[in-house]
Subunit: 443 residues, 4 copies
């Protein structure tokens, strides 16, 4: 999610929003959309697929504010589910975009439906718009406060009207949301601050857990902060989801991964000739591992940079090869070596098994798998789709059973405490539900 408000002067805000959103493409590839206001009216374009596909032939007008979103979704995606969700209500037009997942969505839908609401999408943003519309007579800020009081679960959301851009973060701060500023006085908001450089903005501060921030032609002001008893930033943002060049709530993603790698090297030390990481998300941890263990760091797997696009689906008999389309062993570098392969997390273990086999086929003498996070044993109610209910049994497996399935010579995971430390637990409190099964909110 990316938003921008110029403070009143007309500019190519949709183009800027495109650049900003482009830096956040990793947060959702299913759909994309941008809404623009010129202070009078609102226009938007949305569609399925990558940002570059959705906006290949579409141009939006200039304006004073823009709100942009990429959709991350497990299931079948309709254009209707693309965000921002733009609707008219009694006080004009609003665009709503949200990351995360509400845990009381169905309860809220039921409630609203009993009062005659209809739902054309399955997204939280529609619910938010309906709650704002329902908050009759409270004014925009009051309505958003009313909305926030009703929501449970994870959300980092933004609401744009013709007059203002308002950012909201859930009381636990489960999903990140940052504020930046450009030299010429535009305010920007983004899910990760790595998006700021793309538009020439510098990081100002994070939206606080439970905070409502209003940006308009008068500048930025905090409407209020209504935090939960403790903050609970999603630890998986550091493990896998966020970009390494982002810092969330003051903590560098790269540093967290690097530190996790260093700590991982102490878990089950092994003699080896090469430490390599699974590109791209485990490279920082592998560098940390190598530095701590004094084992040589190098590439063991090469990644095809063109993967990620739809391609001809291999049929069942060729399924095994499809991992080769994404990753390939560097034979010259692993042949005859004892290799430590670092990955950031394991969910099902099937990819890991393929990688271990690939390294062995390329001549690795030993393959020691190291995971820079604990086993993902629990589902995420807040919108991260790493874990499927059908995997419950697999995740009750012991580490040894995992090792056998993966086929590694040894296997070790970073403990939760060490991960917490790596991520800077002194300064932050996390949601670690996917590892521990304990969640900050009632479900």
């Amino acid at each position: 999610m990316f938003g921008l408000w110029t403070g009143g002067k007309e500019a190519a805000v949709s183009q800027a929003a495109y650049y900003g959103l482009f830096a956040l493409q990793h947060r959702g590839q299913q759909a994309a959309g941008i809404a623009v206001t010129d202070g009078e009216t609102m226009d938007y374009h949305k569609g399925k697929g990558l940002l570059s596909d959705v906006f290949a032939q579409n141009t939006l007008p200039k304006g004073i504010g823009a709100l942009a979103h990429v959709l991350y979704s497990g299931g079948k995606v309709r254009t209707a589910n693309a965000q921002p969700f733009v609707v008219q209500y009694q006080y004009g037009t609003i665009a709503v975009a949200s990351n995360g997942r509400l845990t009381n969505a169905s309860k809220l839908r039921e409630e609203l439906a009993k009062d005659g609401a209809v739902f054309s999408t399955g997204v939280d943003a529609e619910l938010m718009a309906l709650l704002i519309a329902k908050a009759n007579g409270r004014g925009l800020e009051g309505s958003i406060q009313y909305m926030a009081e009703r929501l449970e679960g994870a959300y980092a959301a933004a609401i744009m009207t013709k007059d203002a851009l308002i950012a909201v973060r859930d009381p636990y701060g489960l999903r990140p949301l940052a504020i930046g500023r450009t030299e010429d006085g535009c305010y920007v908001i983004a899910s990760e601050n790595c998006a700021f450089d793309a538009v020439g903005a510098v990081f100002e501060r994070d939206v606080k857990p439970g905070e409502i921030v209003r940006i308009d032609n008068g500048g930025l002001h905090s409407v209020g902060v209504y935090p939960a008893k403790r903050s609970a930033l999603c630890v998986f943002e550091f493990v896998y989801f966020a970009r390494v060049d982002s810092a969330i709530d003051g903590l560098s993603v790269y540093e967290a991964r690097f530190q996790a790698g260093k700590r991982l090297a102490r878990v089950l030390p092994v003699e080896a000739d090469l430490v390599c990481g699974v590109p791209d998300s485990a490279l920082a941890a592998a560098i940390g591992y190598a530095e701590e263990s004094k084992i040589h760091y190098g590439d063991g797997l090469a990644k095809n940079r063109y993967v990620g696009r739809t391609f001809i689906q291999p049929d069942q008999s060729q399924r095994v090869r499809s991992v080769h389309m994404k990753l390939n062993a560097l034979q010259s570098n692993v042949k005859g070596k004892r290799v430590v392969l670092v990955d950031d997390s394991i969910v099902r273990g099937t990819t890991s098994a393929n990688l271990v086999e690939m390294l062995r086929a390329a001549g690795a003498k030993e393959v020691h798998m190291r995971i820079s996070s604990p086993i993902v044993r629990f589902g995420c109610p807040y919108g991260i789709d790493t874990y499927e209910q059908s995997q419950l049994i697999a995740n009750k497996m012991s580490e040894e059973a995992f090792r056998k399935q993966i086929g590694a010579d040894t296997l070790a995971f970073l403990g939760l405490e060490a991960l917490r430390e790596a991520c800077g637990a002194a300064n932050l409190d996390f949601c670690e539900g996917c590892f521990s099964g304990e969640y900050p909110t009632e479900l």
Copy 2:
């Protein structure tokens, strides 16, 4: 609009809906959509453009019911405005499609908005869905009755749930809606009965003005008929809008145009060598004119059958030629002749001027323009976009001023009374607001 209900057995309903809708493409080219239910769930696909474009690569599942719609719209069209409008409400999923235009839409929107409704489209179908959702506890039929009581203006609508297909026509019967039946017992509904042949159905009867008809696995039954004091079928359906192979409320469109042509021949008789019509909508009237006047009938203008698709827009300097891309004079047939050119209606007169010039350039000695309807002097509040407010002045012009602008040797219009007769006024009452300025409903 086209709907189909098999009575319970699964079939290729979306394919049948496609065929049926294809016969109604002339009723709207801006967007198209089909919703399908299998008795449990509902799926749909919608998009901008012609039916053949929207469904070029999309397939819908089999089912027991389908509702399909083509959109007719003057302004900028969004995918979101394509119908059927499919939403979830407290009792499940409904698909709503509607032709026509409500005259109290903004009042209703305001009312609903005050209660917290949000609007993601500008179409009447969304309003209808919201009213149905609001009619809490009345059951489906009761809810639709509740909805119908609130609506003012023109509508021929259909609502599909997983259990039933319900058709509704406004109390004046402004827009047409017909019921047909296939050999194997499927019921179909369509804006015009010309769509029935495409799916092997035969005409059963028209939905009556103010009637609500329910089709489900138990067959068809009339829920109720709540007509206005008088019926007021849109006379422009006969003049221009409907297909010649349709019959509306028992009256043949072809026959109406043919009879209008015959009556037109008596208005301002002229000596001539050839009667020709503007393809395609004025051909039936031209045939009638020729028969009555005993003047030879023939083609004076050829139509390019590939027009209708978007094409490279000619720039201003070549605007005049663009009419040549659509219509072209048949030089061999008009050269040296006194030609009667019959058209169905005149709104602005610019096309007519081009045609007259074209015939003269092709060698016609005289061109006598005859219009088989009165001058369109008033706007249509019920959804026919022939008339723009900006044309008010032009439409205050006298017939003689019109003749001069068009450049014809003589010009004559069919009177309203004669048009009424041609359309079978003995049997039907019409809305003739675009000609008379008198409308059946309060505005």
Copy 3:
């Protein structure tokens, strides 16, 4: 095929070519292309599908000359087969486009291949380009003459270089080719003169059978005329292929069809209430039939104006209905009547059978089928794909067998002599091979 040469001043020639070609879309729907020269270089764009699809997003530069083509082809079409065929040869770049079909193509290909030629398409234009390239040292006009001497069969071709546009017509004049001129001095060439109005040009003259015409900045001059002993314009152009608003070699297509209809009325006179034609190609003949027979003329079948575009293919079980998507009976006009249905030609008779059945289902008491040309009993070696070898047996059928298959009450064909007269045999000599089996050229 459409070509244009401004005489030296730069203009939007590709746009003009688009307009001109648009009027000729009926001559080929498989592929389209436009080449443009600015006097120095040549650019082009080609693609599969209708003109409006191929050029939906493509723009060509301005220039002083353009050559455009629509492809008519029975089999699978590749983009490579789209024309103009643009190649570089020793004297620069040439674009070649051709209508018709060479009868010695495979012999020529073999010959050229023996000398080392390679073929990347199956089109005659490639052969022509190779022959021109082979005519080493003869100059452009000499090379085209050399080429023409080697070609056998039907062709109306054009060759564009950066300096000139050259038109060639085969010695029999089997395929048409006309020259026009705009007010501001541009020369245009087109397969049919109906294309001239679209670009504001007027008909100048036809290219003569066997003539080579050169258009360049110095104007137009005839390079030479090398006719066969007799001319042999394809009579099927008048029967079906050409547009009614064209005149070919001085004879109006509309007039030919109208006269054929008049003569057809004398063949097997019948008492009837209505004469109707199969839209659109048989309407002129039906008008002629009605005028001669004094039977009322009217519409019996309505055509869906959106057909012609690709659409979801009906599956086998619904094949019969697919004819309903294109044509539909006008029940109100045929019910209870004795109907004469005029069509322009019959190849297999399956469509005719469907139409007769459709009219009977709509209530026609009698259906008398009248065909304004003889039975198509022979294949066309010159590129008209009406007739397939597999139909040989069917075409040995007697008229009575045909009648039974079609299901008409009576069936009659216009005789060859009468067709010839209708087409103006006093002035022209035709190829009637598809009717008579006698061809002008050796095969």
Copy 4:
């Protein structure tokens, strides 16, 4: 380029070719194509853009052989220039694909044109097909030998007929070409052996410089080897072009880059806190640099994994930011540090200047730029487009001038001798023309 021959049994060869080619996408993004033979006929599909776009909706039949190609081109690309180039010649159909660039192409074109050849593309493969066609009566292998004798410059080509797949490499071996084999006996050829894993094949051997290899249902045999006096593999394949997981002529690309990095560390040693590489091509060198210099290795720049796709072009005023869309500094890791930034090569230096500025803006105290190859001072006549004639002046600049332009604290390049050693000069002889201006062939 990728080819496959099953040895006679029908298989999903086009799918396999797709997988293989996908691993080679980095060798060309402008166009892609696959030709398939079933032993009788040949089918193909080609188009502009990435492989995944070209084959998004197209499927090719099964077969016994396939030839696939991705196009690398500087200029405007037409579909016609996509390869394989498939033509018919006197002995049937051949598909030709080639990497590299011929240096005598225009001479050959001229020669062939004088004999009447026409050229519909600008690619070497067309020239090759014409030469094969010209080699009348020599048989397929003889014809290819005849062709090879006429060609000068760089090429790694393959020719497929319905009976055989033939691979050819120029006498200097300028461009790579490898042979692999699957478990079930299929032979495959590929520009780089990293493609073999994708289809389950293992590396067998490289095609030798000057060798012609024939693969058919009888297996593989070498038709002949006609090498130049010395081999001259393009050193830039190791520097930048090839994938790290490939080995060319026995030398690992990764190892070469790693070794170059090690040697680079000795050139102008500097005290620093962090060594980082420009992703992705300079990472291996940076790892080598860090290992040799004992300075910490880490990420200094993050790469957006979605770049590479077309996207909205930023306008001039935002040009500087566009580099941010691709690469972004890792502030947390570089802040306050003395950074060594390793890149693989420098052509114009503008990107380098942006990166240095980016690192400084992120807080780097010092930025020391190190390039793991010499300055690219000369053009490449063999098809690598790194160097434009307009850069001649820039490339006469001194290292110090370069440093100033780039804005680095220090700048150093790896010497040619050291690069040669890193690439294994003991075993191989290279073309280093882009660095030295000395080329193996006469130009």
